[in-house]
Every structure is written in C-alpha cells, then in structure tokens.
Symmetry: C2
Subunit: 540 residues, 2 copies
Amino acid sequence: MKIALVQMNAIIGDFQNNIDSIKKHTHQAYTQGAQLVIFPELCVCGYPPKDLALYPSFQKENDHALQVLSETLPPDIAVLVGSITSSIHGLQNTMSCIFQGKIYFQQSKTLLPSYDVFNEPRIFTPAQTFHSFTLGKTKIIVAICEDVWRDTEIPGNRYTKNPLEELTKLSANVLIAASASPFYVNKPKLRENIIKKIALKYHIPVIFVNTTGAHDSLIFDGYSFAVNAQGEIVTRLPGFKEYCAYTEIPSRKKKLLVLHQNKYADICDALCMGINDFVHKNNCSRVHFGLSGGIDSAVVAVLAQKALGAKNVHAVLMPSIYSSDTSIQDAQKLVASLCIRSSYIPIHTHFTAFLSSFNLSLHAQGITVENIQARIRGILLMAIANQESSLLLNTGNKSELAVGYCTLYGDMTGALSVIGDLFKTEVYELAAYLNTKEPYIPQSILDKTPSAELRPHQKDQDTLPAYDVLDSILAHHLIQKQCAKQIIKKGFPPQTVSKVLHLVKKSEFKRFQSAPILKISPLTFGDGRDMPIAGKGIPI
Amino acid sequence: MKIALVQMNAIIGDFQNNIDSIKKHTHQAYTQGAQLVIFPELCVCGYPPKDLALYPSFQKENDHALQVLSETLPPDIAVLVGSITSSIHGLQNTMSCIFQGKIYFQQSKTLLPSYDVFNEPRIFTPAQTFHSFTLGKTKIIVAICEDVWRDTEIPGNRYTKNPLEELTKLSANVLIAASASPFYVNKPKLRENIIKKIALKYHIPVIFVNTTGAHDSLIFDGYSFAVNAQGEIVTRLPGFKEYCAYTEIPSRKKKLLVLHQNKYADICDALCMGINDFVHKNNCSRVHFGLSGGIDSAVVAVLAQKALGAKNVHAVLMPSIYSSDTSIQDAQKLVASLCIRSSYIPIHTHFTAFLSSFNLSLHAQGITVENIQARIRGILLMAIANQESSLLLNTGNKSELAVGYCTLYGDMTGALSVIGDLFKTEVYELAAYLNTKEPYIPQSILDKTPSAELRPHQKDQDTLPAYDVLDSILAHHLIQKQCAKQIIKKGFPPQTVSKVLHLVKKSEFKRFQSAPILKISPLTFGDGRDMPIAGKGIPI
C-alpha cells in the first residue's frame, strides 16, 4: 500500500485555505497511486486554535469543512485529517479517515498536555475509546501527538492513562502518529528516539506526520518520518517546509535525508520560517527594525533578509550622541552587504526635547535618560510601522530579557521577537554560523565589546556578569529550575548568582508585556514561563 | 465548637509573611476560645503560585513552612491551612489540619480548573482519596474551591469526577469549603447560591472560607460565609478585607451583613484592593498616570486616591495642540478636588521633533501623528516612573482595548490596567457611583463627548459606533461568544457588527502586550482570553 505523508502548513481559522490545501495534496497523491494520505493533527482548523475553538461559530465552520472534505475528496483514496469534533463530554482533538465519501473512522486524542506552552485541557476532553480501521488487508491504529509522549521524561508529564497500551491491543499492522509538535533544538532527534522505542516495544511500524509552519511563537518543523518494526528509520522528510513524501508500510531502509548536524542550521531555518509565517499569516509582506551596529540587530537583519528577501526588509539607523562612529559604519556596511533599504534618523532633537521637560542637561546620566533614548527609537520605529504598513521586528536576546537589561516600550517594542529565545552567547554562535554561508556580518560587529551605547563608554559588562557566566547561570535557573544555592554549588560566585536571580524576578513585569518570542528552546519566555509579578519570587 | 473563619491576604512566595499571619490569627482565635481555625486555599504559599510551584526550592520552602507551623502553633487548637504537597503522582493542592503539634489530616483538591484564568492542571495532580477528620464529636470533610463548582454551568466545566459525592459518603457533620475564588461582578452571590444548593442536596452545614487580596490581575474578595443544613446563610464576612469571624457549626441564623446591592460598590472596593495590593506587593508606595480631562483617567484618579491616599498619587497633564482648554481645566479641577500632586508637561516640542524626522507639517493628520502624540506621553510617564520609583497606572477601558482604539506603547503603557475590564458605559456608571460618595469628578467630565484629542475636532464616535451599541456588541461577542450572524439577529446593524468584530481580531497583537488588567468581569482580556495573533479569527 502506497502511503502519502503530507506535512502541511495550515493557517489557524482559515478553513477555506486548509480545505484547498488538503484537496490539492490529496489529488496529487491520488495521481501518484497512493491509497492513503496522512495529514497532521488539527490541519483542518490549524494548530493551536486556542480560544477560537470555544466559539460555536468556529466549531461550526470546522464541522462544515470536514463535511465538505468528505463530499469532495476522491472516494477511493483514504484521507486522514485532523480536526475538532464534538462529543457529549465536550470538544475533542480528532483524526478522521475520510474514505468512500464518508467519515470512515475517527480516533480522538487521549493525553492533553498542560505543561510548557501547552494548555489543551482548556479546550479539549480526552478520548474514552480506542479503535482501529482497515484498508485492504492493513489494520491501522492512530495516536495523536502527546499520545506517543506518555513514557518520556518531559517535565509535567504525569499521565495515568496510556493510549498506546490500549491501541496496540487491537493488533494492528501499523501505527500512525499525527502531530503538531513544536520545534526546539534537538526535538527532531528526540521525536525519532521516542518513536523508535515505541516501534520496538510494541513490534509495530510507525508513521509519524508532523505539521509545518509557524503560528506566533510556535514553529513547527515537520521532519516527518517512518520507522519499521525493528525501530529503523526508513523514510525521513525535510524540516521547515511543507512537503509530501511516499512510503509503503515501513519495512526496508532506504537512502535517508540526514538530520542537521549543526544546531544553528535548524535554528536558522526555524527563525526564518517563524518570521515568514508571522508576516504572511498577518497579511503583511514587509518588516523593519532598528539597526544599531551591534550583534543582535545584525543577526535579525540577516534572518529577515533570508526569510523575506532583501526588498521587504528595512533597517532603521537611529544614532544618538552616544553612538560610536564604528557602530554607524558597521550598520551601514551590513545594509550594503545585505542590499536592504535603510533609513537614518538621528534622535538628538527628540532627546533634548525630553531632557528639557525634566530640566536635565544633555550630559545627565542615569536610567531615566538611558530609557528615554531607547523609547524615542521605539516611537520612530512604530511611526514607520504606521506609515509603511510594515511589521516591526524586535531584536532583543534572551539574556537581556531575562535580567531586564532592556527598555520596556523602547528596545522591547515590536510585533515579533526574533531572537528572544537565544542567549547572547548563542546569538554570537548563530552569527558565526550565518557568516559561514555568506559573510554578511562585518567582522568588527562580531569582535566588538557589547554595549547599549546609552551613556559615554558604556559596556554591558559594567552592569552584567560576562555573558558566558550570565548565560550559564540563567540556563541553570530557567531551564533546570535551580535556586541560588544549587547554582552556587556548581562553582559560580555567590554574589553574581544572587544578583542575576534578583534581576530575573525584578523584570517579570517587563516580560509580561513582551512581544511573542519565536521558540527554539525547551523554555521560552511567554506561555512557556507563567510567573506572578507581585509577591516574592524563587527563594534566593 | 467555636470555629474561626480567617479570610487571610497571603503574599505569593512570601512564606515568612504568611507563616506570621497564620500564627497571629491563630493566637487571636485561641484566646477567643476557638477550637478550629479555617484558613483559605494555598494560604501558606499564596494563590496562584503559577510556575513558581515548579521550582523544587519553592516546594522545599513550602514544606518547611508547613513544618514550622506544625511545630509552633498552639497544640490544642486545630488549624486548617492550604499548601502545596508532594505525592508520588506529582504536586497537589492540599488543606492540612495541624493539631497537637502534627499534621493530623490532609485532603487534596480533586477538580483542577483549566478554563478562564485558571490553569491548575499545569501545576497540580488531582486527589485520589477522600477522608474525614474528627474534632471532639464533630466529623469534618473538606473540599477545595473548584471541588464545590462541579455542578455549575461554568463554561469549560467538563468534570467526570464528583468529589462531593465521595466526601459526603463519609457521613460528616460539616463540610468546609476552602477557596481562592477570584472576584467578578455577582460572584459573591453566585457562590452563596452554589453552596446553599450543596447544603440542601447533601443535608450538611457548609463553612466557606475565601482568600482576600489581589495578585496581578486577580482580586480575591473574601465574602466568606456559613450556611446551615437548611441552606440558610447564618454568618457572612465582609468583602475586600482580611477579616476573622467566629461561628458554631452552622445552625441558627444571626443578624447578617448585607451583600452590596450596587454593582459599582463591589467594583470600587475590588479595584481599590487591586491597586493597593499590586503596589505594595511590588514593594512600591506611589503611583502616577496621565490625566487628560476625560472620564477614564478621572475615574482612575479617584480610585488611586481612595486606594493609596492623596499623598501617594501623582497626576500628569500632558497637553498637545489638540487638547481643549476645557480638558485641561477639568483635569486641574479634579486634581484640586482630590488634593493630589500634579505635573504639567506640554508635548509640543517633542511632537515637532518627531514630525520633522518624517518631514511632516504640524498639521499633518493620520494614524502616524496621532500615535506619536500618545507615545510621547508614554515616554514622559515612564521617565517619571524611573525618576520617582513610582508605578505607572494604565487608564484604558475595555471598549477601546477590545477594538484597538488605543496606542500600543502610548496610552497602553503602565504596570497595571485599572479599568481595562470595564466597558466605556460601565466607566460612566462607576464615575456616577463614585460621585454619589463624594462629587470629586467635575460634571463637565461626565457630560463631555468622548474624544482622544489627537486631531482637530476628533470624537470617538467618528471612528466607533456609539458606546452603548459598541459595548452591547462586544459583550455578545466576547462574553457570550457569539459570531456576527448571531449578533445581527439581535437587531444590530450588519455593517457595524462586522466592523467591530474585524477590529477585535485586528487588535489581538496589541492586547498581547497589554499590562495586567484587574479582573472584575467573567471575561477579562489577558489570561482569560487566549487568542492566536496570526491567522484568521472568528468567522465574520
């Protein structure tokens, strides 16, 4: 039996687009002689539908779309699609097999994740029953995303049910795992290892179909694959693009696409897809951002140009009296090498207007005047967004966002944070990786000492520990959930650790108002970290 | 048996504060001859602990606090407190009875809400077992918050278990319901009705103890009470303040405090508590805000003065060329009547600096120049926050936030949105209520036609439908979750409905970056409405 794996890029709530895409892929698979086409989880309505799913009108459109598909898809090819369905217990997250003009089979999702960025119990109720379906001589069972993650050590995994135990009792020939599994670094490898273990444990071939495309913070990488009952990968689809590939019931190993060996190759592809989909799924085409001559905005410039093409990217240089000549020159060099449009708007007159409101001299120092500069830039960038219907990209990194070394409504402005899930040390590594492809970023940007350039001779390290130390402490605290005492035991200076953890707590209010951040790590600010503002934080 | 009901105001993560408070109230109850003291849900760690609870160090402090309490509370009074506990299945939300120097009894929460602002499955695992405990001749069972909401028609309520069925099988003499139940209008009455039904259904007296105080968006009103087995309220505590009252096992009705008859009396108390607790639990004391001469900032001014006292409140007048003389005069009158500090910072020079960056004349019109004005004010207000360590209050209302009639990083700045959960029509009604107490708000502010004053002769109704129409459409769409077709059926003009719903969808990106909003309705922007930004919205 020839099976098509379609890692489709759906649009949330755009039922017509999703129906059209399902039809197009099905027709193509049909002409290729496939008997079964597998689409990802919730491809009919898009994932995650969030509270849209609570609207009866959204549910109705979803039901109508499923109806339209069952009436219009070719009757003699089986098509497995994901949608919302209604049961007496509530909404369910369901895969339906459309065959011979009707809904031939349905299986709902059992395990509803509520950790990290997931909040599925808010919307769905779990499956109560387990079924198989048969095509020709092939008996098929279906699991949905989290259903295959039951035995992993993901934090927050506390399931009592095990849908795979129930499903595999049905003695099927193949398990289909339909997913909308968001990307983070090494997730593609992790998924393959999980599925290999399942294939071996239950002696069953598994076909894993993941969605592609990005929605707000979440990037879905695809990287679908099939494993045989011996746990060997026999087919692997590429990452970060909508794609269709064919397999038989997995048995013999074929020549395989190799997974990215470099962490930053995946990150680069993920962030480009994240930018591209956010811009286009918001019906925009152009972006702009402040280009300072520092590493962060340089990396965002390269990513934006890769994602959208040079003609859709606009860099805005906004020097102040504290901007160094080399920063301006470096920014201009980068603009030239990327062939992107740029604007040059000095902020001096704006700055003096604000200073005079507070009777401050031009050489006044302190947090007030530093923030004023950052916020003037925020106003200028938002004015360009208004004037040109362009989307403002935020260029902040995870280290500064973690400790609040950033200005709310200043450099924190933007519709989307591109590198807000990369620590500063990772931003450097990503820059180096990007430069191995094409050396867009001037060496002087890679070499210079990091500075916000908001006062004379300012350096980030006047205020913060060295970034390698800072980023290690942050990783221990944010990802490993360690307290000061545990981190100090690893050999970090007690005062530094206390200071960093204090800054993390103190800046919760800033992150509360942050733009959505493209997720590329297991712990991303935003939905992935839900913290109180008022009150005390983690004991220091 | 004399029982103390303590509706305590805990601080999230401030274990020492919470231990001290529990001890203080217990000692007082002990000297009053009480045999049992009941505290609210999670009073040891504060509610909601959110992702703090996922940190092992936070769990350890919580366990330590429970240990300290069991060792230091007087041994011959039973004290029921709420804390996190660890089980083999994961963390649980538990009430522990401390008696005779040890933990005498524990009951965990069964129903974990995941609708509206709640996301408890993220943190907790449900109770598996049900117990009672006995003091003297009294057999007691304990339910925790959502456990008593099983049979209500709250949207998202899809529980299969019923802890009350299990608990009441234990044939107890009294049911204690310990809660951290956040306020919205009419919630106190709703809770009483739910508990009355439970008392009647299971023929058992019920003592309901709710927490007080605010944390970020959530305001906990208290309004604890006791009902006898006939479903009559026999004791009622006041709303919006930490309080201790005594009851016997509820039987005879006593003279009762009357629940607020006026919706705005509760809202006023709720918002004042919300401001006060946000400010103090963030270790601040002072607030400031932009005062325009319009109704919204006038209402916030009065609430801030009531909450914090005149000396801690600072109104900032920032007129532009489009500000009317009457607006400025009205703002000054209000400042005088409230006896609060004010600053006067015209934004003209700042405005011309920005205009010249874009080669715009002083009389240029359009969204760009309107937003620039709002954002200059944002910078000035944030500069004051930096200079004076004062907290900026946001003065936007729910109607404008819903349709995006507000400027991101402009009038949307602030650490806390005070009236962001009141529709414009409700803001007027609240103003009228406040003026019945003391006529602080000049009549001319109540009477004037609403205007953002960002261009000549601008009126809100140039852009938006009349507020009574707008607010009705919004209530149908946001709270009743109706689509355009359903709202049009109610008699609203089709074009108006389409336009409003389109604006709601188009401004999701703004609300994503909004300050936390004090919750006083069943559907508050923020955690209460989790919507995608990219993609299509509700079918229009």
